[in-house]
Symmetry: C2
Subunit: 181 residues, 2 copies
DNA sequence: GATCATACGAAGTCCAGACTTCGTTTATCA
DNA sequence: TGATAAACGAAGTCTGGACTTCGTATGATC
């Protein structure tokens, strides 16, 4: 693969993450091309369909998040779990499509994105289990509802940071074994 | 206005709520017309644009929810608040567009839908205040974050009822002054 | 039951946006 | 530095879906 081709592919992915994040999946491929400084044809050469581009963006993002989650397995269990939860939620706001995708990536997609999503879910599961063993999170909650909360909160984009923080505090309070961190 | 015209208008609104609820706002006007048993032209005669139709659907739904919330002002404060919260969240799953709309109806819409959304928000505020005075909900939470939680939870559609119930229990636990209902 | 404004739907127009074609440019490697 | 395969973008095609036109049907009123 030629160097310029690889560079363009990378820039297209970066721009696509930003554009789809802002406008959802209804954002146009042409805008991605324009902001990436390439022609539409170049986008379609690297990704055969718009859906394939979206999927590539999601896979990259899920994998990145999973990596961050796994890196936290060294830290203090409670801090790691709640910290990652907060990170994902506050990082997500401009990533509408990401939240939407998180939502149904478990489902009909069936492709690599679903697989990457599953990887992220497992990593969150590991953080949760550790936090429960350490007594930072109630023992009677399980991954499905925790993940559902994570997805739900990460889609509540259109509120200010202050409000989001307070909402998160309520959820954390409900999750905590004793008191919210 | 002729009787058949009024009847068609009502049926179009009903069908549109169902169709937009399922497919989001990207669902086509043609599908609404077909399921309502009328021609496309009839839909556009009653609602000049697709946006106007969507707005009419939202206004009706927000007003209905507000009515339900206000009717609960007679009941036990805690039961009323948590019951309405649960009702809205579990009623919403098939109403994707509704959740999305709830989300940003406070904002750029500027029209009747934003106004109706504000009415619903006020009604929830009344329920919240009563529940706090009765000691069912913590005193240190305020409407913005509670409403944000309501919106967030109502958009987490793609999970089974069991999981949704457990996720709600966690949130309620975080909201409750003592224990979840 | 005749009139006619109201309401209807079949068959359009029009445009945005996904995807292709094809002749030109450029990185790479001998 | 020339050969060549990889990569590029301008200018298309084509489809889906929002919105219109216009001739026909029908509920309301007398």
């Amino acid at each position: 693969m030629r160097a310029d081709g690889q560079a363009n592919r990378g820039r297209i992915l970066d721009v696509a993450e930003e554009v789809f994040g802002r406008g959802g999946e209804s954002a146009s491929t042409e805008e991605v091309a324009r902001l990436a400084g390439v022609g539409i044809a170049t986008v379609f050469r690297h990704f055969p369909t718009k859906a394939a581009l979206l999927q590539a963006v999601l896979v990259r993002r899920f994998d990145r998040l999973r990596g961050q989650a796994e890196a936290l397995l060294e830290d203090d269990p409670g801090t790691a779990f709640f910290g990652f939860f907060r990170h994902l939620v506050t990082d997500a706001p401009t990533k509408i499509a990401i939240g939407d995708a998180l939502l149904d990536a478990g489902g009909d997609d069936g492709g690599e994105a679903a697989e990457a999503s599953l990887g992220l879910r497992r990593a969150v599961g590991a953080l949760l289990e550790r936090a429960q063993q350490a007594g930072a999170v109630r023992d009677d909650v399980e991954l499905p509802e925790v993940y559902a909360l994570l997805v739900a909160m990460s889609r509540a984009a259109a509120v200010d940071d202050e409000t989001k923080t307070r909402a998160l505090a309520i959820v954390f309070d409900g999750l905590a074994a004793t008191a919210a961190p």
